[in-house]
Subunit: 405 residues, 2 copies
Amino acid sequence: MQTIPNGSVTSPQGFLAGAAYAGLKTAAEGQRDVGILFSEAPCCIAGVFTTNKFRAPPVHWCQERVAQGQAQALVVNSGNANAGTGVGTGQQGYRNTAQMAALAADVLGLTARDVLVASTGVIGVPLPMHKLHEGIKSIHLSRESGHEFVRAIITTDTFPKEIAVAVSLAGGRGVIGGAAKGAGMIHPNMATMLSFVTTDLAVEPGFLQRALRTAADLSFNMITVDGDTSTNDTLLVMANGQAGNEPVREGTPDAAAFQEALNYVCIYLAKCVARDGEGATKLIEVRVQGAASERDARLAARTVAGSMLVKAAVYGNDPNWGRIAMAAGRSGAELEQEKVDIFIGDVCLMRDGQPQDYDTEAARLAIGQQEVLLKLDLHLGSGKATAWGCDLTQEYVRLNAEYTT
Amino acid sequence: MQTIPNGSVTSPQGFLAGAAYAGLKTAAEGQRDVGILFSEAPCCIAGVFTTNKFRAPPVHWCQERVAQGQAQALVVNSGNANAGTGVGTGQQGYRNTAQMAALAADVLGLTARDVLVASTGVIGVPLPMHKLHEGIKSIHLSRESGHEFVRAIITTDTFPKEIAVAVSLAGGRGVIGGAAKGAGMIHPNMATMLSFVTTDLAVEPGFLQRALRTAADLSFNMITVDGDTSTNDTLLVMANGQAGNEPVREGTPDAAAFQEALNYVCIYLAKCVARDGEGATKLIEVRVQGAASERDARLAARTVAGSMLVKAAVYGNDPNWGRIAMAAGRSGAELEQEKVDIFIGDVCLMRDGQPQDYDTEAARLAIGQQEVLLKLDLHLGSGKATAWGCDLTQEYVRLNAEYTT
């Protein structure tokens, strides 16, 4: 597996993209707010979606497309989430999503059922369909416009999140590309965000869905910014088979290689999302090992990464092992306090549940990094997991107190 | 039931209290850091404690005293939580707790087993036993010193939390008093805090424990400040029977009256704790009705009250129904979005899952109050619950980034 320099969702063969400005965001918020990702051939697709019961119409629409198993394009917009607008098939929100798919389908020579839809932005305001129509019509597709496409899904992100990797299988070489947007409302199940993965590899449909779920559980479901989960979280993968390989099947060496590359892409994007949490200045990585089960390790890692007090301590460069212990202790994971070791970087702050006389300077150096590593060993079993989060800053509060409905 | 003006934990008959400065806090943090609450007669006791697996030695000690069913005094300190110091009976943390009880017992003419212990403050630093000893010896007990006692448990609280109510039973008139400290790490199970309730009523032991659990579930388990749960949360009730009534027994009219008064005292104290969350400027009350079950109502109410995005919106005076809907949607409570109504105060923001054209001025007025009421009706059943929280401010972040281990 090899990272492709300057890679994007159009790095795999047969994918074109484009973006335009339809006026859904203010000009100050960004110059792109509608985008299309198009495959020259029909794609096998899979998806993982928000568990929020207030999920938005585009999420329902994509779930229907994933059930049908195939699509050929994706149309996205930012500036308006089309959420809280009526999710029933007869309601305005759902009708607008269907119409958005139809508008893109018209331009692309497809039917609406071939087109996936994702929206992000303010909630509860009907999509301005006329503006969207004009925007979609003005999109020019090209092989080079993957970087344009990602700008169309950005809201308060401070940088675009993109990657592509090349993977060599027995059946030939393929590419996996990915793009994501994050910022606020980022929390497991799903880590609130939009993320789109493309590949020119042919992949057997059932395996594609299982592989995506596995990758999501190691990546987007292990990040947290503020504990809130949005109504629009969507992770989609489109596999168009243009690499010409035999479809990747579960249980083969190719499947393992594909899974590894897919995990890599999703973890890379998820870490970008955590690092770019609203107001964040640091990425926090929490590694838990020795848990009684993987489930416990995941619980403990995510709870520590999401603790407001841990996040504030990291922001303040305070190696506060008490807050780390407290968060692990309330996580629901099995834990015996007299067995717990806690590290910041390589500095051991607690061993066997006892605070250590650690090197204060080394600890402050470790927590002063832009990427802060917190490690816990529970010494109960072999469960391990890694979660990512970001620090909690005054800027987060300012951003979210001033954002207006 | 009647509120007693200027009431405290020494309002019930037979309770004395006192406090002193032992030097565990800096002088700037407060002039009282050790306190004693003493009953002239042995008390029937009950307790509810933190579920954090990193619970501190004084929590273990109190659990043992509650198992024994009886105590006659309580010794408390602030400035040092005696947590992360070794909770095993042979370890320093536990030994120091036992010694703290013995020091108080010496002064009071009791045995250590008669003395409950609670500690709050920094974690991981051994209790300075010499200072504590000097402090405990210097405490003067009196009927009037309930207000002194509460000052000894305060850390970053901005005001003391105290109350007393008189309750008339068939068997005579009694008084229930209470004191609490809160501030940070406030979240259900237990809402992180110390709270002590006293009464001169005689109460049957089994009923006292069940009544306290019921009251805790309606009060301290329904408040949240930051989602974090401390290692030291303790709620204790001491009933000394000096009112001379027949012991209150479950299923009687007296039991109902006692429960009502106990609920009132605990809810009052819990709301004080939520209102005084670190950096908070407002109390948020979330009332959920129409849930499929009471459990669902509790989940939804607590999740909305604890959502960082809802809290930031309340701070910013933004009637952001989208965030309220999002939080309810991720709470785990059963929910059908096309049935949900959302109100801020009396202003309906969402009806049947549809955003309403509400009176913007009225909504901003409602969210601009010092006590902000958010109401949700899920229209699925008869489950209802109320939770309390506070807004999220830059000051919260500053306090918790600068607090140093």
